[in-house]
Amino acid sequence: MKLRIIFSLLGTLLILFILVPIIRILVAVEPADVVSSATQKEVIGSIFLTLRASFWSTLAGIFLGVPLAYFLARAKFFGKKIIEGLIDIPIVIPHTAAGIALLMAWGRHSLFTRLTGINLVGNEASITLAMIFVSVPFLVNSAKEGFKMVDIRYEKTAITLGASPWKAFSTITLPLAKKSIISGSIMMWARGISEFGAVVILAYHPMTAPVLIFERFQNYGLKYALPVAALLIIISLVIFIILRALEDKR
């Protein structure tokens, strides 16, 4: 019993540490200011841009990351640990550094842009790229754990019942790992929305919400940054509470 009391006290400290700043913002801000900023075209535009770009990045993450996650969960090969370490690199390196690395790879003077003429700096595509880079590890790792939990003998059983490996994957493995994939996708989307460092280097304009908050804070001070920050927190909280609730319902 003592153990539980001590652990719950320690847990409460952590929860307060997370909650207090958020409550502080929501208390400090004038509701009228939040409403007025919610009607500003620039603010609304940046919030939608953020949600949208992160959504694209998550779609790309599902398309490319789920097959990789399955491969890593099932295959045994030399150097697997290195590949797994590689996936985690974006989590480890500072995101401003990640932004600079992305700029080198996809910027105006990159081989890609020179060959294709496609500009990947200062637009929604570049924001999406930055978000994929920094947030895809959350999806891949979560999906990989999900696939690992599906006993390979389910697939083998499906195959002896006449399923092709594709059918066994789509009718058995995928539905059984669905929860982890969805939860990883939500994490990836959330992580994309909150991204600042890599995005600001690849695309200062158009401004995502985190960049807009930074810009207002930098140029006009706390008073002007606060309503936008509060608005983004409220919108994010509402969306994620809804998503988590839907996830649990399944």
Partner: protein, 336 residues
Amino acid sequence: MIRVENLQKRYDDFEIKNLNFEIQSGEYFVILGPSGAGKTLILEMLARLTKPDSGQISGLDGQKISLIYQDYMLFPHLDVFNNIGYGLKIKKADKEKIEDEVVKMADLVGISHLLHRQVTSLSGGEKQRVAIARALILKPAVLLLDEPTAALDLSTKYKIQRLLIKLHRRYKATFIHVTHDFEEALALGDRIALLIKGRIIQIGQPEKIFSNPKTRAAADFLGYKNVFSGEIKNSKMNVSGAKITTPLKQASSAYIAIRSNDIILSKTRILSSARNCFLGKVIKLIHRPSFIEVLVDIGPVLHVYITYQSYLEMNLTAGDEIWVTFKTISIKVFQH
């Protein structure tokens, strides 16, 4: 006929070594062996799910093979109906046909009342019935069963065994069943292959294997509890003071094994043709589900199986003096 030739496979820390056997079509073939003998691996190779390192399996080309794993592997996101119908759905059978076949199959294995239950809520025996139905609905030529009763309680185990016998008769498919339970092998197998440490030690009809284990490991595994070693001189082996008359005249080092069923207990000495008769002392009585195991000290300790009826009539208790009689011809001898 399925023919397995020189099959080899190494997997983690065990190995299938140079496996050779044939299975007649329609046969109920049991592979009997302790866990870790590589039994599941053999089934996976027969089901073409795992490739052997070398050797070949012939006679299965184009045949439909179903495999039932030990822990059933029912798809947890599908209900009983959709588990059983999975194979037909994959084949794109039409809805009425699936419905019709699933209902018939469920009836045959005795789970009609469970069709709309979630599989996670079923008991072990029910799960096994669903797994069997799911495999048999495709009318496979070969059904592979991996320890189908290992996780079940005794009465459920017997029910599943009876079901397997019934289904084997009805479908006339080849059943290949692996188990570590020698009573189950005896009850079900047309023939048994005894697999120990990745090798087949013996293969043949159940009674022949049980009455004639070829090695000491085989005798141990087949449930022989009275296995002794020593020198045989003038047909006698001295086992901790008891001079046992054996069918072999001389051997510098040999094992003898006596089946617990072949030993007679009596309150008085029996005058008979049996060469081995010793006075001993009952040291323990163990109640088994269908018999009583009596431990008798005659120098070595013998394990003797008697019926519950005999136990009551003889009024045995620990500490009683008792005569032990067994025929020389019932002793199996293995030389090194």
